[in-house]
């Protein structure tokens, strides 16, 4: 869990720029009276108690789902605890082969859509971001404003005509309706995230490259892109999680079980099974959450930075 400690936790910079940093020294120089430090310690204990209780309540359902997936079915409706008497792997083997295809088939489908979406977002959004952050062109302000507005546009307003469009090209039950929009930078949030990042890169570097005779494609590829790797990583991770979880798009465009991604496969599983197979349903739910959890473990730094600087979940 070393990754969890990547953000500045208690650096003691003397400047008062960051609230947290500035506070720790003040606390230390506070009057050394015993009463004060005791009340501070009690305050700290109360805080930890609150946090531990809230955290435990929040995480408990997830832990319970993991444990329940390793239990015989009937126990799921009788045993609220986390104690495991034996490991029951049958839920996983049953669940894996419960649908038309083995569950791995749906995971591969999801992986294809995810990879295509990541690639699409990385290329198209970084190009648009470079134009908005570095180039002067007519209509820039208007386009930039439109781009910001589209971040907030509810997708329902476009979904019906989009469906009509894609079904007329014959793209229903293909992955194209889920990938092509990403190739066209419709996830404007990432354009914005990258614009913010590029603005922070010193312009001297562009100027130096330009004096050396580099054109915009060269500056973009050789100077800007290598420097914006953190923004690209954030984009990759968020695209991964959002696309992996995306239910609505898949529900509309993928009706053929061959093409199901994980979320619609899980939904089919819920619908097809009677209440007796919750164990295998849980098992496959866990399998479906595993990639997101791994990304969370290893990419947390980028996730938290991305949210903190641009503020979207």
């Amino acid at each position: 869990m070393t990754k969890l400690q990547t953000l500045p936790a208690a650096s003691n910079s003397s400047s008062g720029k960051s609230g947290k940093d500035g506070k720790s020294p003040r606390r230390r120089e506070s009057p050394g009276s015993l009463a004060f430090s005791r009340s501070a310690r009690i305050k700290g204990l109360v805080k930890h108690a609150i946090l531990i209780i809230v955290g435990a309540v929040m995480i408990y359902p997830l832990l319970w789902m993991v444990v329940s997936s390793l239990r015989p079915n009937d126990l799921i409706f009788r045993e609220p605890g986390l104690w495991l008497e034996s490991l029951e792997m049958s839920n996983y083997t049953d669940g894996w082969s419960a649908l038309t295809h083995p569950f791995g088939h749906y995971m591969i489908n999801s992986a294809i859509v995810v990879l295509g979406s990541i690639l699409g977002n990385l290329i198209s959004c970084s190009m648009a971001a470079y134009a908005f952050a570095r180039l002067q062109f007519s209509g820039k302000k208007i386009f930039f404003g439109i781009m910001l507005l589209t971040i907030m546009l509810p997708f329902h307003v476009v979904i019906v005509p989009q469906y009509i469009l894609f079904s007329q090209i014959g793209w229903v039950n293909t992955f194209w309706p889920l990938i092509v929009p990403k190739l066209l930078a419709t996830d404007a949030f990432f354009v914005f995230l990258m614009v913010q990042f590029i603005r922070g890169i010193p312009k001297d570097l562009d100027e130096a490259a330009r004096i050396d005779g580099a054109g915009h494609p060269r500056i973009f590829l050789r100077v800007i892109l290598p420097l914006m790797v953190p923004a690209l990583a954030t984009t990759t991770i968020f695209t991964f999680i959002w696309t992996w979880n995306d239910f609505f798009g898949a529900l509309i465009y993928l009706t053929d079980p061959d093409m199901f991604t994980v979320p619609v496969a899980l939904r089919a599983f819920v619908d097809s099974q009677s209440a007796t197979s919750w164990g295998s349903l849980f098992a496959m739910s866990i399998v479906s959450l595993l990639p997101v959890f791994l990304v969370f473990l290893f990419g947390q730094r980028f996730l938290i930075k991305g949210i903190a600087t641009t503020g979207i979940k």
Partner: protein
């Protein structure tokens, strides 16, 4: 700066172009439009085009098979008399107006507890953040369906203390509540934005307040809250826009029908049923535009109201 902050400064700063801007104008037009090409195509083909198309469709009767037939305002008039639609509005408004303040309240509270250089902060932050990554998934909605079922985890725990809980998601009175709880459960991402905001407040303000003898509560009301108000506003706008579009959880928990007795029939769920269940594309388009107007109105009200409570330091 956030997208919202940037938008509001853009509308505020309307002066004539500076000399430099004029000189620079048009310099990179060709290169710029090449770089923007994918985005421009997307804007036209995936966003603006379909928007206009759906505006047109909202005045038609269209079922995908026959060509659209112009019916004027019929769809909108139908919406006036559609009791299920009114109910779906009520459900959605309840979800947004209860869920969003609750979620943001918890997020702010936990952020305040976490802020003061607490030991183990990265660990706590991770624990609280994880649910917001998983909350939108079908898997967690399935988990919710079990937890709040008649013999689910919640009732098992309640039974241990001798309480016989209702079938939370099969009872029309509590079904929506359990979905709202799922929304509150994902307070981690606004919490992280609050944490980032809290760090921006200069410590000297608190120090000065302390010298003047201000209590912790006074410091919160007079310093923390005003300084944090832009962030609260930002979270509020984003969460409201997002919550109006919430779909997956209600769909999975209710088995796709918005039940029991339409108590979890979100507006988006009803729109989906009309458009993609009954292929009543004209009506669905009218509903979609209605949703856009509602969200737009809420956002506008938010922006107007913000003049009275959001405090900008600059």
């Amino acid at each position: 700066m956030s997208a919202i902050g940037e938008l509001s400064t853009m509308t505020r700063r309307k002066g004539p172009m500076t000399k430099e801007e004029k000189k620079a104008n048009g310099r990179d037009n060709k290169a710029a439009y090449i770089f923007l090409l994918p985005w421009l195509i997307g804007l036209v083909a995936i966003t603006v085009g379909p928007m206009l198309m759906s505006l047109y469709l909202s005045f038609t009767d269209y079922n995908l098979l026959q060509p659209p037939e112009w019916v004027g305002l019929d769809n909108f008039i139908r919406m006036f008399g559609d009791a299920r639609l009114h109910n779906s509005l009520r459900v959605t408004f309840t979800y947004v107006l209860v869920g969003v303040p609750l979620q943001l309240g918890v997020a702010l509270l936990i952020a305040l507890v976490l802020d003061k250089g607490l030991r183990g902060l990265p660990f706590y932050r991770s624990i609280f953040y994880l649910p917001s990554l998983l909350g939108g998934s079908v898997a967690v909605a399935i988990l919710w369906k079990q937890i709040f079922g008649t013999t689910g985890l919640v009732n098992q725990v309640l039974a241990m203390v001798g309480i016989e809980g209702p079938g939370w998601i099969s009872d029309p009175n509590t079904a929506l509540g359990s979905i709202i709880l799922l929304h509150v459960w994902t307070f981690g991402s606004p919490m992280i934005i609050f944490l980032a905001g809290l760090r921006q407040i200069p410590v000297m303000y608190y120090e000065a307040a302390k010298v003047d003898g201000a209590t912790t509560l006074q410091q919160f009301w007079r310093i923390t809250l005003p300084m944090l108000s832009p962030i609260i506003f930002f979270n509020l706008v984003l969460q409201i826009i997002g919550s109006f579009q919430s779909f997956t959880q209600a769909f999975i928990v209710s088995g796709g029908n918005g039940g029991p007795s339409d108590s979890t029939m979100f507006f988006t769920l009803y729109l989906y049923q009309k458009g993609f269940g009954q292929f009543d594309m004209g009506y669905a388009s009218a509903m979609a535009w209605f949703l856009l107007v509602i969200i737009g109105a809420f956002t506008a009200i938010n922006f107007i109201a913000s003049k009275y409570w959001v405090f900008y330091d600059d």
